[in-house]
């Protein structure tokens, strides 16, 4: 457990469950274990765990093999990747949610990025076409 008065910077790895009530900055990787951010916990880190439960505040991406739960007191900014994501009423969340399996999600994220790349170029082409007065003309 990281207690309320503890401030930790760096990478946390290990083989047991973790409860964070203090401040953590960096990364938390406990792939086979539960990670809980308590109501007083403030985390600026990416978190990887089997299950991730948030009651406090997190800024960073969360990846869980089983599920992510955001309680009503949670404030989260970042992307969530887990097969199951639950949010209580009152939880504040801004970001994306990928409900595939974490390993597949990494692939799908890349696929999305690749898919969006020609689109971004497309929108630039549209802008360029608009400025040259050719927008909307059939080829």
């Amino acid at each position: 457990m990281v207690g309320q008065k503890i401030r930790l910077k760096g990478e946390i790895t290990g083989e047991e469950d973790l409860v964070i009530e203090g401040q953590v900055e960096g990364s938390v990787v406990l792939r086979s274990h539960a990670v809980t951010i308590g109501e007083e916990g403030e985390v600026k880190a990416s978190i990887v765990g089997r299950t991730i439960t948030v009651k406090g505040s997190v800024k960073g991406n969360l990846t869980a093999g089983e599920q992510i739960v955001l309680h009503s007191s949670a404030t989260v900014e970042g992307d969530l990747t887990a097969p199951r994501v639950m949010m209580e009423d009152g939880a504040t969340f801004r970001g994306g949610i990928d409900m595939g399996t974490p390993s597949a999600s990494a692939g799908s994220a890349r696929a999305r990025k690749a898919a969006s790349a020609p689109k971004a170029r497309g929108s630039q082409q549209k802008k360029a076409a608009a400025s040259s007065g050719t927008a909307g003309r059939p080829a």
Partner: protein, 210 residues
């Protein structure tokens, strides 16, 4: 028509900030029409506050990826909404829920926001938006909107009232949303309009690879 009549026609719920109303939403019903069975890899961009109900609705309608990006929060946005919106990553989205974003932002930002939404959507993407109607130029109470199910939305009154900035007029909507094509429009009395638009696959604007 008075707000009282609206409330009589809706199921009322209690809320910390006033009476939350759950009401039928033909626009939401149109948005989800035919989804779910067809695909299981939809991407959703919801420009409202994240809720568990919304997440479950998207999931059972085939969403694989959901992004909640409330760019204005529970307030009128004076400036910068577009900057916050463009800050989000851009996968091609199949469903876009803009809610009343266009009413909350400065009028000169509306066009750019619509163009950005068009640029991040997938071919045949569907867009849902709400427009508040003002009575005699006097703004009505503002609401926070969220999904209840595939046919209903929840309207929670907010502390602030809408600004006096001009609301999006019915005649403006089609022009504002180009290249989306407005397929459906609904008047929800007393004070709301709903639109469902589709990004036309094969549009001359569609320069992306399919």
């Amino acid at each position: 028509m008075s707000t009282r009549r609206w409330r009589r026609n809706s199921r009322e719920e209690s809320s910390g900030e006033g009476e939350a109303i759950t009401r039928p939403s033909p626009g939401i019903a149109a948005l989800f029409e035919g989804l779910g069975a067809a695909r299981t890899d939809l991407s959703v961009l919801d420009l409202a506050r994240a809720t568990d109900a919304a997440l479950r609705i998207y999931t059972r309608n085939g969403a694989r990826w959901v992004r909640f990006a409330s760019v204005v929060g529970d307030r009128v946005c004076d400036a910068g909404a577009l900057a916050k919106l463009t800050d989000t990553p851009e996968p091609p989205y199949d469903l876009l829920l803009a809610w009343d974003l266009f009413d909350r932002v400065l009028p000169h930002e509306r066009g750019a926001i619509a163009r950005h939404l068009a640029a991040v959507c997938a071919p045949s993407a569907r867009l849902h938006m709400l427009v508040n109607m003002f009575e005699g130029g006097e703004p009505l109470a503002s609401f926070r909107y969220s999904l209840v199910d595939e046919r209903h939305m929840r309207c929670e009154p907010l502390a602030f009232r809408s600004s006096r900035r001009p609301s999006v007029q019915p005649a403006e909507v089609e022009h504002l949303l180009v290249p989306f094509r407005v397929d459906r429009g609904f008047v929800l009395r007393p004070s709301l309009r709903e639109y469902v638009a589709q990004y036309p696959a094969g549009s001359v604007y569609d320069t992306r690879a399919r």
